[in-house]
Point group: C2
Chain length 442, copies 2
């Protein structure tokens, strides 16, 4: 006896249909995969007349292209049999040795055995999440935090809980409080995700004193730290902080990247993890992609071996410092009262808080109309927060473009404030106590 399988599956044959015939076939996690609402706007924002303070793209035009061209040519002609072949899922051993030299600049003493090379540090984030997160598992993250980390945690159905931060980074007492509350509820967090240096999006850096306290709290609670450090070497003033991993090798998974210190075009990032975790990450990487591009790994390895890369980073830092200064000076000179912003010592981003009653997301279409773009703050929270915030990037536009961009932005903000004063009608964030989770921001 047979049944009609179409009846059983309850689905029409998809042929020729304009409606998604697979809508009831997707995994539960696919529900968490949604396109950003502001994506369409960014297509407009990429037009040349728009000054984009939105993107986090490094300024790769500062790279020595002729020299890079020579390196990629020689990797092909001299190492082709290796470079053009499959590699191991863990990554090229020589590159992993070089990566340890890079990490040593931030106090990390690591073995190449515990490094895995990934497709940017984004893939490392993804691998860590897939190894640790079951649906409903708690991930702690700074408020605000990196938008694509939120996406990745959400794609694995994590319960993302924010921990408040201020100008000195995450608040240790807020972290402790959250862990205690979880424990009291019989729950635990799988890890605490942090970008300790020149945070994306807030631009703030965790101070030395707080690093000690955060590590002490995490160690006491048996909580793994996921330290994401793409910007650490891009410091324009002040003293470098030691990586969290430097002082807690068994409690920290450290993520690094060459996307900002060399180029994102090769997609070379890495994770450094306690050995047992690293073994899991390698297996996850193998099922995710077999192996990363051997060619790209040999290119980056050769660049590190042959090029004075520390000097190159110094050059980058001079360029980015000038851009950061242009942005901070412009904000200082032009921003209306009631607006505040962070003062990053490195990295790419400034986090702006608008005067009360203004909504950065609602304002974005008007800003793009005035030929300036930014990222509204709401995207950097798993909860409904950040309406008064925006992330401004100074990495890609020139100082002159930055000044012009801020000038246009200030015009838009002043206009919005005038409308608010006259009509009291700018779209307000949801009232506290409503459907939105309690905000963690101070």
């Amino acid at each position: 006896m047979t049944t009609d399988p179409r009846e059983t599956t309850g689905r029409p044959a998809p042929q020729g249909s304009r409606i998604d015939p697979y809508v009831d076939s997707y995994a539960a996690r696919a529900q968490g995969m949604v396109a950003s609402e502001v994506r369409a706007l960014f297509a407009v924002a990429s037009r040349p007349e728009v000054v984009s303070l939105a993107g986090g793209m490094p300024n790769v035009s500062a790279l020595p292209l002729e020299e890079m061209g020579d390196i990629v040519r020689r990797v092909t002609t001299e190492q082709g049999a290796t470079a053009l072949q499959y590699g191991s899922a863990q990554g090229d051993p020589a590159l992993r040795e070089r990566i340890c030299e890079v990490m040593a600049l931030e106090g990390i003493d690591a073995s190449a055995e515990d490094v895995i090379v990934t497709v940017g540090s984004q893939q490392a984030l993804d691998l860590v999440t897939r190894v640790f997160i079951d649906p409903g598992d708690v991930v702690l993250a700074e408020a605000p935090t990196y938008v694509t980390a939120i996406n990745t945690f959400a794609a694995f159905q994590a319960d993302i809980q924010h921990v408040a931060m201020d100008e000195e980074g995450v608040l240790p007492e807020a972290l402790e409080e959250r862990l205690t509350a979880l424990a009291a509820a019989g729950r635990r967090a799988k890890f605490f995700y942090t970008v300790p240096n020149f945070q994306n999006p807030a631009g703030v850096t965790l101070t030395a004193g707080r690093r000690r306290r955060v590590l002490e709290i995490c160690r006491r609670h048996g909580l793994l730290v996921l330290e994401d450090n793409p910007y650490g070497l891009l410091r324009y003033e002040g003293e470098a902080e030691r990586a969290l991993r430097a002082d807690a090798p068994d409690n920290v998974i450290y993520l690094g990247s060459f996307s900002k210190t060399l180029s994102p075009g090769f997609r070379i990032g890495w994770a450094l993890a306690p050995s047992a975790v690293r073994a899991k990450l390698v297996l996850a990487a193998e099922s995710a992609m077999l192996s990363h591009s051997t060619f790209n790994q040999l290119v980056v390895g050769r660049y590190l071996a042959e090029h004075p890369w520390r000097e190159q980073i110094k050059e980058f830092n001079e360029m980015y410092r000038e851009r950061r200064d242009a942005m901070l000076a412009s904000l200082e000179a032009m921003m209306p009262p009631g607006t505040s912003w962070t003062r990053p010592e490195g990295g790419f981003f400034v986090w702006v808080t608008l005067p009360e009653g203004l909504d950065a997301k609602a304002m974005l279409p008007r800003a793009v109309g005035e030929r300036v773009a930014y990222v509204p703050g709401t995207g950097f929270f798993a909860s409904d927060e950040g309406h008064r915030n925006m992330r401004l990037s100074f990495c890609y536009p020139t100082p002159a473009q930055i000044r012009e961009g801020v000038r246009r932005l200030v015009g838009v903000i002043e206009n919005e404030a005038a409308l608010r004063d006259t009509f009291g009608t700018t779209p307000a964030p949801p009232a506290p106590g409503g459907d939105a989770p309690t905000p963690d921001l101070p």
Copy 2:
């Protein structure tokens, strides 16, 4: 009131411990991530004195390295600002156009809009699985099937069910039967995974008549086909078959790769999917890695634009044909009675069935001792099958090495058979009807 969180989590602080302190932190899916048992042996097998008939590595030394070196140099110096920057998660539009030209060779009429570029077709497999598979969901796969596809499905906790195949590919009646049984049990499969050309590991090709029947069955059952076609263009005799996707654009996700027709070192593969599915895959790719290497995509695009790649594939095919012929002739000349094997018209692999009572996995250490390596059949099943099988690759060794490798292998098999005849003691596969699932193989 606070509790000691260490008590709540039940875990000691991990500092300094030699035991994995995170063992109870991993996600359930991480239990499915296990290292292959034969991996350690393959480290030994990579020694130069061993003839490896194990690996599926293409022979990249046949590539024109000087010309490739010139291409990668010009991509850097002429397109550096784009090549070294972030790209889109969907992939470079020009490369996606070129990919459509490649697919046209197998009868596919596709829009570049529906193509997503991935880190080899392995990542495409991973993205499809994460978009469709909840724990316990059924995936249908040929028996045997590609080992890393099994790993990926298992990593997302799929219930992998095999469908029997023979020399003409998967058996349509077995597929229908399985679907009917699932429907009767109130279950459905999410997709049917197939490698229709020169299958890995079996080397067989789905015939034209069976392609029609398989598509008809899948369409009737509303079942998506996941067509994995890395070897399709590597045909050494006979007529090319139309891709399944060519005749069922709304029912098939097609996976392709440049790993075998150009080089695996750039890790450029792709998926072609119905629009709604493609949109989900792009979002999944973004959270998995932000974007693939722009550099690599421009290199492959430029290679396809500037190099006579169809001629290059013809050259590859002449080289691989000679190797396949060497393997088939050696097997014919030397294999003991009771041994059988497939006769692939293309691709990289021959699937051998040993005389009754022999176990290819148990025999492997002895084979490596005799300086020849292969992959035991058991790895290509999600169930406990394939003990009498081995996969032999002819892609990487030279014809002379292949002949020598088969000669050594035959010596090992004859020794095993003699031991079996004398002592009746070679390790036997589990008795049917035991713990193992019912085998699907004919």
